[in-house]
């Protein structure tokens, strides 16, 4: 481990990312909402911290090793979350406590979308914009963005990329060079965002809302500029646009890449993960809509259909937008929606959860054991599509699943121990680790009523979920630090 090399990269990254505070600063100047000073000082602070940590070690020219990659990624996420909290603390309005600001910032960057702020409408425009932008940056991954814009990361870029990208098979590159891959991912991400924003705008959102919601939709985040989330617009067209883009953003971006490159969409359907994702999401939609219809939650069947569809996609992809108070829906529907968020998006998408491909592999592995009972001597490879999956990947998926469940349980118990009721504790941890956002019970609409220790536990859960457990936990093992 070379701390100097890690420090150099971190300093560099911070310096570059301090410039992401410029757009909200500009928004603040334009709208004269009084938050400009907060952004200016946050920008100056970040820039100087980054520059000062980079300066003494700028001449260190060493490639990052595998271990350094983990440290850089985890450090960068935590440092950036901390620094991202600065505007919330410095601004006169909302002027959050440190805990609240950290929670809001981590929730933004990890694309969770859980908020502690109520009465969003009265906040300065620039703060609202800044929250949406946080989600957008976190969506495709800040490290992936860094790899795309900083070619000097070199081979170390691959180590960083692997520590951040979601999914069990991280070696599959879209292009031979990592910088090109990262660029391709961001181009796709950017184009989706632009198209989504235009669609929102044409459907009647104001330009400000359209941009903000495009950011958080394509990032599968869930922040909104209104307390009522998507429900504020009260437009089925907007809801359906959101459904389409949440669905697209939950698909593996390499499929988008292939489709774009070959100008051919047949690749989507050939992909087993995509088929399974569609199947799962359709079942969730079906169950929700039928559930709403038969429990007569809504008087009109159209409302049941549209609200059920929107909520199922929003929760299933882990975005967490709401058009209705789904946490007040009949218990079975609410909890089954929450469970669907455990699956989340596909590998290599912006969605959270354990990822569709992992579930698919777990299911196949389970089926294999059943076949083995019938044919004890058979060799049965685990296949995805027509390709056999390396047994190491299958093992890693099991390990991941076990750790996911274990982390979930520990944090659930910890939260319950702080005195929360079980439904609130359970759903809050689930919504955080899956990067979903809204939970059930006391955390349905917002997290403002949660006490401070609970918020810190949830912050950890959100980071754990976004960095897919391993990257964060490996830093907590003694073996990692042993020379």
């Amino acid at each position: 481990m070379s701390f100097a090399a890690v420090q150099r990269i971190l300093g560099l990254l911070l310096t570059v990312f301090s410039f992401t505070l410029v757009p909200p600063f500009v928004v603040s100047l334009v709208t004269r909402d009084g938050a400009a000073a907060a952004f200016a000082s946050a920008f100056a602070l970040t820039l100087s911290i980054g520059f000062i940590s980079w300066l003494p070690v700028r001449s260190i020219r060493r490639e990052l090793r595998l271990r350094d990659g983990f440290v850089v990624v985890v450090m960068f996420w935590t440092v950036l979350s901390t620094i991202g909290a600065l505007p919330f603390i410095l601004a006169d309005d909302p002027h959050l406590s440190i805990t609240d600001a950290m929670f809001e910032s981590i929730s933004g960057l990890t694309t969770t979308g859980a908020t502690v702020i109520t009465h969003l409408e009265v906040l300065p425009k620039s703060i609202l914009y800044y929250r949406q932008q946080l989600q957008w940056l976190g969506g495709m991954g800040i490290i992936v963005l860094a790899v795309a814009v900083l070619p000097m990361l070199g081979i170390g870029g691959m180590q960083l990329y692997r520590a951040e990208t979601p999914g069990p098979m991280k070696d599959s590159k879209l292009t031979p060079r990592i910088t090109e891959t990262a660029k391709a991912l961001w181009y796709i991400y950017l184009s989706l965002t632009i198209v989504c924003g235009l669609a929102y705008w044409l459907a009647g959102m104001s330009a400000f809302d359209a941009v903000g919601h495009a950011f958080s939709t394509v990032a599968i985040g869930g922040f909104s500029t209104h307390d009522a989330s998507m429900g504020y617009f009260n437009s089925y067209v907007i809801d359906m646009i959101a459904v389409v883009f949440m669905f697209l953003a939950g698909v593996n971006f390499s499929l988008h890449f292939v489709a774009f490159r070959h100008r051919n969409i047949s690749g989507y359907w050939r992909d087993s993960e995509f088929r399974f994702y569609t199947l799962l999401l359709s079942s969730v939609i079906l169950v929700t809509v039928l559930g709403l219809y038969f429990t007569q939650t809504y008087d009109r069947w159209q409302d049941a259909l549209l609200n059920g569809l929107f909520q199922a996609v929003s929760i299933g992809t882990t975005a967490g937008f709401t058009t209705a108070e789904f946490y007040n829906w009949p218990g079975f529907i609410a909890i089954s929606l929450l469970f669907s968020s455990f699956v989340g998006g596909c590998a290599g998408s912006t969605g959270g959860g354990i990822k569709v491909i992992r579930l698919l592999l777990l299911v196949k592995q389970g089926l294999r054991e059943i076949t083995r009972l019938v044919h004890p001597n058979a060799h049965i490879p685990v296949r995805v599509g027509s390709k056999t999956v390396n047994s190491r990947v299958v093992e890693a998926v099991w390990g991941f699943f076990a750790l996911y469940v274990a982390s979930f349980t520990v944090m659930y118990l910890a939260l319950a121990a702080t005195g929360l009721d079980l439904m609130t504790a359970f759903s809050a941890v689930a919504a955080s680790i899956n990067n979903l956002g809204p939970g059930l019970g006391g955390v349905g609409a917002h997290y403002a009523d949660m006490h401070d220790p609970g918020k810190w536990i949830l912050c950890f859960a959100m980071l754990l979920g976004r960095l897919e457990i391993f990257t964060l936990l490996v830093l907590l093992t003694p073996a990692f630090w042993r020379k």
Partner: protein, 458 residues
């Protein structure tokens, strides 16, 4: 450039390593997951798993827009078929393949565009054999590299006390040399660091000096830098494989050659192939065997088995027992650094001998020869100048007016049959072959750009 490398063996790995540092898009194909994973961890490349010659594997590797395919799997047949598939299905412009078996190589008609469409055949064994041959023909040289079909050579030597030029300024070199002999020092390495040679640079003992001269003048130049060495007479090669056998067959008429081969069957086969060579069956690291074969009177002991450790150890043993010069063939780059200029006089890296041939085809501009030096850090290239004074940045200019990147020097110019050693006032003409030495390979882009002809020429 988009390049597909088939085979992640020793050659494939080295090529990938060298090329990926130069902003090329590299895809490596192999059948071994473990090899690919290892490469992927270290290099910024893409890997594809599968049988290299299968069209679907080639397609997955991006063959439809690849500029070059380098087939270096360990099977000649796979390499040949892969090139055929790449040409027929994807029209890949440049196809390079390693073909080892002399049975194929002896029929050049096989490799024409109409039959097996392979543009460049490389045979690492042949390249290594030539490399060692040149070293044996130039006693005292650390490295001898050919340019312009062997008319010009770049030679690396270590300067010693007693060489007439050692302790003197470089500008006196051509005064020392008698008659028409001329040479130019291209680079000097002192304690591992490159020094830009100027007229007033003083050569110190133990410097590694690279100079360029016409082939015939090389012994005279070397005699300036160290006491002239007696030509070699008695040679022992450890290992009767491909390389050992080729070496022996080309040297046995002029030298007294012995081969030590461990395997009895192989020893018999080699002895049947060769006429004047004594083939010994036994272990090259067997002290008694070496003593019995009067190792103390041997001029060169050269270990060329396919086992790095055995090569190094037997060479060290031979040196201790009194062999005059020992050389060892070493595949692993880390070992090359380890033994270089230690007990073992010369460490020969087959990858480095091979990579130059491949780099020749990757370089832009009209580059006819590339030699990779000092484990890839430096490079010597032969480039052809085209165009005229308006379209080219080199033609019609004197050497001192060409804006070379730092660490780069022009060693010699070959004009038709004539070899001109570069002076500051030598003017370069169109179609000249210019031999350059770069101590810092990362400047290669700037050199490439120098030799590219401007748009106006078209």
């Amino acid at each position: 450039m988009k390049i597909i490398i088939l085979g992640a063996g020793q050659v494939g790995t080295t090529v990938a390593q060298n090329l990926s540092n130069e902003a090329n898009d590299i895809t490596v194909v192999d059948r071994e997951h473990a090899l690919l994973r290892d490469l992927q961890d270290r290099l910024d490349i893409r890997t594809v798993h599968g049988q290299a010659s299968h069209p679907d594997v080639l397609e997955r590797s991006g063959a439809d827009d690849a500029d070059m395919i380098i087939a270096v799997t360990n099977s000649d047949e796979t390499n040949m078929v892969a090139c055929q598939a790449a040409w027929t299905l994807f029209h890949t412009p440049t196809k390079i393949a390693r073909v080892r078996a002399p049975e194929y190589l002896s029929h050049p008609a096989l490799f024409s565009q109409g039959s097996l469409p392979i543009d460049v055949l490389i045979s690492p064994e042949q390249l290594v054999t030539d490399y060692i041959l040149r070293l044996i023909q130039h006693p005292g040289a650390l490295q001898v590299l050919d340019f312009a079909g062997g008319r010009v050579r770049l030679v690396a030597v270590r300067a010693y006390y007693g060489g007439p030029l050692v302790g003197h300024e470089l500008r006196t070199l051509n005064e020392h040399l008698s008659g028409a002999a001329e040479a130019r020092v291209a680079a000097i390495y002192r304690k591992g660091a490159a020094i830009q040679p100027e007229g007033h640079t003083v050569i110190e003992p133990d410097d590694e000096v690279f100079f360029v001269a016409a082939s015939a003048n090389i012994p005279a130049v070397m005699a300036e830098l160290r006491k002239a060495e007696k030509p070699f007479r008695r040679l022992i090669f450890a290992g009767g494989g491909n390389i050992g056998r080729r070496l022996a067959s080309s040297l046995e008429n002029d030298y007294r050659v012995k081969i030590i081969e461990r395997d009895e069957q192989q020893a018999r086969r080699v002895s049947e192939d060769l006429h004047h060579t004594i083939v010994l069956q036994g272990d090259a690291a067997d002290e008694d065997l070496l003593l019995e074969e009067s190792i103390e009177d041997t001029d060169v002991f050269c270990a060329v088995t396919n086992d790095d450790e055995a090569n190094i150890l037997s060479a060290m043993l031979a040196k201790r027992l009194g062999a005059r010069k020992v050389m060892a063939l070493i595949n692993r780059a880390a070992y090359v650094d380890l033994v270089h200029s230690g007990t073992v006089d010369i460490a020969i890296s087959p990858q480095q001998a091979t990579i130059g041939t491949l780099l020749t085809h990757v370089r832009r501009g009209d580059v006819v020869m590339v030699h990779s030096l000092r484990r890839g850090a430096a490079e010597a290239i032969e480039a052809v100048a085209h165009g005229d004074k308006t379209s080219s940045k080199v033609v019609g200019r004197m050497v001192q007016d060409i804006r070379l990147p730092p660490g780069t020097s022009i060693g010699a110019i070959v004009r038709g049959e004539q070899v001109i050693i570069a002076h500051h006032d030598t003017e370069i003409e169109s179609e000249d072959h210019v031999i350059l030495f770069l101590t810092d390979k990362s400047r290669i882009n700037e050199v490439e750009r120098l030799f590219q002809v401007g748009i106006t020429f078209l």
